[in-house]
């Protein structure tokens, strides 16, 4: 894992989030949620600082980060793509959609394209089962997606289409 050095503002952000939850060990999940929302991801150095601030072991923090699929230790792409793997989407072919994204982007689940543009992840049920299979790019939801549409969806963002421009928080 390449070592990174946290910037001063990032360190301040993390400390503030921890403080806002009273530096309590029991608030770990809330702290991680907020920190990831603000910084985009949770690299080792962030987890070390959170552990220090909440006075708990780094191993425990890492245990929680690796338990929940929501948390990520890798920076997400400019356009994070999430494929719903919930039961409804799955039976209606989410897996084929996923493998088409993997083929087109040449990355695996949990990875980001080398140009930093797209990252690929799976999630469980976005509550739009009627539209299965569902994918999300950033905050935008696509329903009834077929493998044939995948190329076109990617193209929308590669051209930097302004109407679809969605950035991560």
């Amino acid at each position: 894992m390449p070592k990174i050095k946290l910037s001063e503002p990032a360190v301040e952000t993390i400390k503030e989030v921890c403080k806002s939850f009273g530096n309590k060990e029991g608030e770990l999940i809330n702290v991680l949620h907020q920190v990831q929302n603000k910084l985009g991801y949770l690299p080792a150095e962030v987890q070390e600082l959170v552990a220090l601030e909440l006075n708990m072991s780094v191993a425990k923090v890492y245990g929680v980060v690796t338990f929940y699929s929501y948390f990520t230790m890798l920076p997400k792409g400019e356009y994070p793509i999430s494929i719903c793997m919930g039961t409804a989407c799955y039976v209606r072919g989410a897996e084929q959609v996923l493998s088409e994204f993997r083929r087109q982007l040449k990355v695996d689940v949990g990875q980001t394209t080398p140009d930093g543009k797209f990252s690929l992840s799976c999630l469980r049920c976005v509550g739009a089962c009627g539209l299965a299979p569902v994918i999300m790019v950033g905050e935008k939801v696509y329903g009834r997606v077929s493998p044939q549409q995948v190329k076109q969806i990617i193209a929308e963002y590669q051209e930097g289409c302004p109407t679809h421009s969605v950035k991560t928080a």
Partner: protein
């Protein structure tokens, strides 16, 4: 109502409210099988995650089976521990666990001592009906501990010891579902973590997932090398536990047979770490008296309390977690390292050989000693003072492979000069023993009077944190004792906040002290074994003619011939050390 009535297998039993089904059954002699559960009575150590489900029992009126280890008995409960349903469920659970476990039992380091193997036997598993993916994980080797997580059954005992008892916080369950493992943060290797190598994870691991690094092969090769003189030292706690490996009662003292076995293995000289312990008392006791007299004279720079420094896991613990306090522990090396240093200087000179031609092996109740003897500061030009540290278990393995019938061996005596020791050296192996030994010597040196009694029962016991005040001829000396690193942490935090009233503190990493060390025969969750070993050491002390370190004639001779005075320049060079800040 504090008392409840239940029936277990149709037998009525009255228990206190809050009692688990497991304990209720145990109280009338019914032993429900358990795997992840472990309870060390009197040490306040319990692991009951309810994870393995081996202990399921049938409760009348309840839809599903209840895990006995973590289900409270309630009034009127009718429990069946061996109904067909319970037995079938138990066997299915066992088969599922085994379906994800390597079946290399014949060549596994834990074979014969494996709780999983025993349980499969007890449940009469003859076939595994389930076949599926097997979890695989890279092997992680450190200077002392090997992690083979393919063999992990996720009982979480190691995690409980590492976090709750030791507060070291290296191990945690990480990842999810089938890929779950118990690992350090970021799945780094142990030797990059803050692991102290206390070995308590190894001591409680039910399978071969956590074991010590095996150095028996290297020792056998050294013994077979005609150009080398190979000597051995044995730690005090070994003699009180080794017999267990040969089906002897826990608490049997096997000092004489131990010496005989080592001699038959081919060691040229069989010595005693207790000699090193007596030497430690001379140095550490003198250091304590120095600090005390400076304190009495009002020297504001003096650091009190003084902390013992015999335990390598404890040393690594404060180097990582309390580096700001690394000036407080005694600078005295541990008995193992003092022995090694003297052996490769004083004794090598006596033999007229180079230190490179002398191999020092130690037999230790400990896995951290393997790490300690490899620390750079304990070597001269790359040649370590102690070459190999074997655990009590490794020695037993070596005895067995060498066709020695341990129980039939005669009692033999240690060799001279490094084999002579006192009762004070012997009790180093139990919590409270180091400080009692130190008090015996410090009292007489401080007051110039002979002790009316050498036994300080107020320092003895199994409580995790203990304290006592000893009257040094009008001067009250406050003594603190901690065993288990979590207890040590409490005392350290007190010192850091300036609230500590102690003059001297003894710390041992393992519950019970070295008798409960990570390299000892497995206790399998039975704390009585540890208590019996403690009683054995106190018995050995009582049987000794000389019971104070400063009266050991060979220690006196060593100072006369070689070292001069305790804390002399030569003693400093050979017997003291420095500590490092490992947090930054």
């Amino acid at each position: 109502m504090d008392i409840i009535n239940v029936t277990v297998d149709n037998k009525p039993v009255v228990v206190r409210k809050g009692t688990t089904i497991l304990e209720a059954a145990k109280s009338i002699g019914i032993k429900i099988p358990t795997l992840c559960h472990m309870k060390l009575d009197d040490l306040n150590i319990e692991n009951k995650p309810g994870g393995c489900r081996i202990c399921v029992v049938e409760v009348k009126g309840r839809r599903n089976l209840a895990p006995a280890c973590c289900t409270e008995a309630t009034d009127g409960m009718e429990i069946s521990t061996h109904s067909i349903r319970a037995i079938n469920a138990r066997r299915t659970v066992m088969e599922l666990i085994l379906s994800d476990h390597p079946s290399d039992c014949l060549v596994c380091a834990k074979s014969g001592n494996c709780e999983l193997q025993d349980m499969a036997h007890r449940l009469g598993i003859r076939e595994i009906h389930y076949k599926g993916e097997q979890s695989t994980y890279r092997e992680d080797t450190s200077p002392a501990i090997i992690r083979e997580l393919n063999k992990c059954i996720l009982c979480r005992r190691c995690e409980m010891m590492c976090n709750e008892v030791q507060t070291v916080g290296v191990l945690s369950a990480v990842n999810r579902g089938f890929t779950s493992v118990v690992a350090p943060a970021f799945e780094m290797n142990l030797d990059h973590s803050v692991c102290t190598y206390c070995g308590q994870c190894v001591a409680v691991c039910p399978t071969g997932a956590l074991t010590e690094v095996d150095h028996t092969g290297a020792v056998v090769r050294a013994l077979a090398d005609p150009t080398k003189t190979v000597i051995v030292q044995t730690a005090p706690a070994v003699r009180a536990a080794l017999g267990e490996e040969f089906e002897m009662e826990p608490g049997t003292l096997v000092t004489g047979k131990l010496v005989a076995a080592l001699r038959r293995l081919g060691f040229d000289y069989v010595f005693d770490t207790d000699f090193g312990a007596d030497l430690t008392i001379m140095e550490e006791g003198t250091e304590l008296l120095n600090r005390l007299s400076r304190h009495i004279q009002g020297d504001p720079t003096v650091k009190l309390p003084i902390l013992t420094s015999c335990c390598p896991a404890w040393v690594k613990f404060f180097e990582h977690q309390f580096p700001d306090m690394k000036e407080i522990p005694s600078t005295a090396r541990s008995p193992q390292q003092m022995f090694g240093s003297i052996a490769k200087s004083y004794f090598a000179q006596k033999l007229g050989i180079r230190r490179e031609d002398l191999v020092v092996v130690s037999i230790m109740p400990c896995v951290a000693k393997k790490y300690e003897c490899g620390r750079d500061e304990f070597a001269v030009n790359g040649n370590p003072d102690v070459d190999y540290a074997l655990t009590t278990r490794e020695l037993a393995a070596l005895v067995k492979v060498s066709n020695i019938q341990f129980r039939l061996l005669p009692n033999e005596d240690f060799d001279h000069p490094l084999g002579e020791s006192t009762g004070a050296g012997v009790i180093f192996g139990t919590t409270g023993g180091v400080i009692e030994a130190a008090v015996r010597t410090a009292y007489e040196l401080f007051t110039g009077k002979e002790l009316p009694r050498v036994e300080f029962t107020e320092l003895r016991g199994m409580e995790g944190l203990r304290s006592a005040t000893i009257d040094f001829n009008g001067m009250p000396i406050n003594i603190g004792i901690a065993h288990g690193l979590g207890n040590a942490r409490k005392l350290l935090e007190e010192i850091r906040s300036g609230k500590s009233q102690f003059h001297a503190i003894e710390i041992m990493s393992c519950p019970g002290g070295c008798i409960g060390g990570g390299g000892q025969p497995y206790h399998h969750g039975n704390a009585d074994v540890i208590k019996k070993r403690q009683m054995a050491l106190y018995r050995e002390d009582t049987n000794k003619t000389i019971r104070k370190s400063h009266e050991n004639p060979y220690i006196i001779k060593l100072y006369e011939e070689f070292l001069g005075q305790p804390m002399s320049e030569k003693a400093h060079h050979l017997l003291h050390t420095v500590y490092f800040d490992r947090a930054h």
